[in-house]
Symmetry: none
Subunit: 211 residues, 4 copies
DNA sequence: AATGAATGAGGGTTCATTCAT
DNA sequence: CATGAATGAACCCTCATTCAT
């Protein structure tokens, strides 16, 4: 189990992390420069999520961000680095939610996790797709592992603790299974879209945890 | 349910389909045509699975297949078309298994499905990755819809019938949930590799179905 | 002295090597492909010699060779590799002259060397400039060292032997000094052009060797 | 001889010019302007000498000089102009040495020249490389001609006078030959490094002038 | 059926230079 | 005097696809 945390995270770990990915308020930009950096980041996020990392050209990012191609390389040292930047940004966004959940009663946390995840699966489908694509392409991720690990480590820790407190016999396996369920639902929804019977499945999952 | 068949299939549908994807014997190819075409297909399959579709060049396919670049475009009208060819090939391979399972008792089918899936997740990890990558990129797939739909339709039908016979209250949702679980486990294994507690999770799933 | 031959060669070593760099006859091209490769090579040679390696774009090479940019990378794996190709080509061209001189009496060889060099300095000034530029930029050369070493090794060996046979007291140093003289004259001619008093200097050098 | 002064100078002319290129003391700069300008100049000199003009970015100059990129263009109108600035600086530094040598006896001047040159070749190898690179790329130099001509004119005049006083029959040609020898040795040393038999060659040159 | 030479659009990236502050 | 964000052209290189043989 020792090397465990060095592995890349499940998409699930992120899902809750990123749940409330609201655009930052203008007051948050301390300097004009951050505005540009953020324009690039947001443009890239949208494009990566929409068409995938490989299919997105730096040119299209520049165009969408209404910025010169050269400026991208003023703020990021490579296309890869933009992806890292996006992750860093997303991590930051999700931190509060993380801490908030940590202090709720176990049943509520599980409940929240399921709610968040299903909401995320529907409303952030494209971002979900990006995360899954990255999760299964370990070569591309490289520099992202640290961030991914941090998120997963924290989150799986919380989940396992919850299941312990709820007296599950296999709290660790149960945490992984719940993750798998939610990831699998995300995958199914990406493939089938509106026809995927989300509600019924959600109900089945909730029943498993007595919700 | 109307647009249902226009959507691309779950990876799960494929997994069992493709379980025993034995390579054809050479004698099966009647003409030289088929030999060359198949060499290209097999080379592409291995490369796509190993490095991903985007990262695989037609050049490398030609090299691996020991065939000229031009010949690829004699048999396939584009790189995309090779991917379609791979799917068609895989479908064909899996048909017999499909029919065989259809005639077993319901509990045995579920059992087989779980066994096959876990085996597949471990031993065909790269192919699994390819299938997931394709499943979540519907734009790329385009020409594959018909094949994918056929597989999914048949398979989900079988599963739903099984759960009906086993008196599950929500047979359809249960079928989707089981698919989601297995897909989610596949995703987790791809992300975490050896550290993923496959056995314990498998046990939990089996317990759910009284196995 | 052991590691001696691993060092990059003096421009002088090349000068005689390359003396008769006549364009190959058409009969030499066995296949159509070699024509294209050679067009690229010759275009690059002219451009590198004229504007320097760094200032020559692959685009301009393609344009001059009347070939698509992509074709360059069909024959050469990088811009560097084109330079290597040029060297290989030049080496081949110079081999015969090399062998011919090896069998002449020592005085004649020295005489030829001086004649060739001065002729080369004047008539292949741009190529000379390219060689000097490469000789003093060891980082760029990398892959060229082997070729350069081969040329230098052979040539300095011949020169030292000549001076030994002519009973010079310091045959090795004398070989290096003659090389330095001729290299220095080449440098001076490149800097001053027509105003450089080539004839008078040549006379002084010849007198030193009793010619 | 008419167009003579329009040509760029030999490296040799510079070598002695620049022999004792001691950095100015800080007190010499009367205004802050000069301090910044000089920081840029010194940074550029070191980088140009080390990696070559083309391979040195204005960015790296700014970084090394601990100055903003914009400031460079406040003091210099282009990257080229920095190079000109370096030359102007070097010229200024060398003037005193020049005059000092002018008043020594002819044999001593030749002796000094050779000593200086060999010392320079070894201890200022990188700067030597820069000078040679510039000397053979006349297009790049453009704006430097005046400075270069001045240096060469003065220096060759001195040398020719020396050889006249020493009763050489071809004083002009001899001056050029000595220049060529020293330049050629510089070239050889740059190419071969430590393996170049500097001492033995120096001895041969000294013998030629009865030193 | 088969080759591989040839194409050209586009890829990510660098960099001298400008400009608003 | 000084900053560094911003520009855009150019750079080397890749690659799916076509075509003459």
């Amino acid at each position: 189990m020792k090397e465990y945390y060095n592995k890349t995270a499940l998409a699930i770990g992120f899902r809750i992390y990123l749940y409330n990915m609201a655009p930052r308020k203008k007051e948050d930009y301390r300097t004009m420069q951050e505005v540009s950096r953020n324009k690039i980041l947001m443009a890239a996020l949208e494009l990566f999520a929409g068409k995938g990392y490989a299919a997105t050209s730096t040119d299209s990012i520049a165009k969408k961000a209404k910025v010169s191609k050269g400026l991208i390389y003023h703020y990021f040292k490579s296309k890869q680095d933009i992806l890292s930047g996006i992750f860093a940004y997303l991590m930051e966004e999700g931190n509060e939610l993380m801490n908030a959940n940590n202090q709720l009663p176990p049943g509520k946390v599980i409940n929240n996790l399921i709610d968040y995840s299903f909401d995320y699966i529907v409303n952030k489908a494209k971002l979900n797709r990006l995360l899954i694509a990255i999760a299964i392409q370990p070569e591309v991720v490289k520099g992202l592992k640290e961030e991914l690990d941090k998120a997963k480590e924290v989150w799986m820790g919380i989940m396992i603790r919850m299941f312990k407190e709820l007296n599950f016999q296999q709290p660790e396996a149960e945490a992984y299974l719940l993750s798998a369920m939610l990831d699998g639902v995300g995958l199914g929804y990406l493939a089938l879209g509106e026809d995927y019977p989300l509600k019924k499945i959600k109900r089945l999952i909730e029943e498993r945890y007595g919700l």
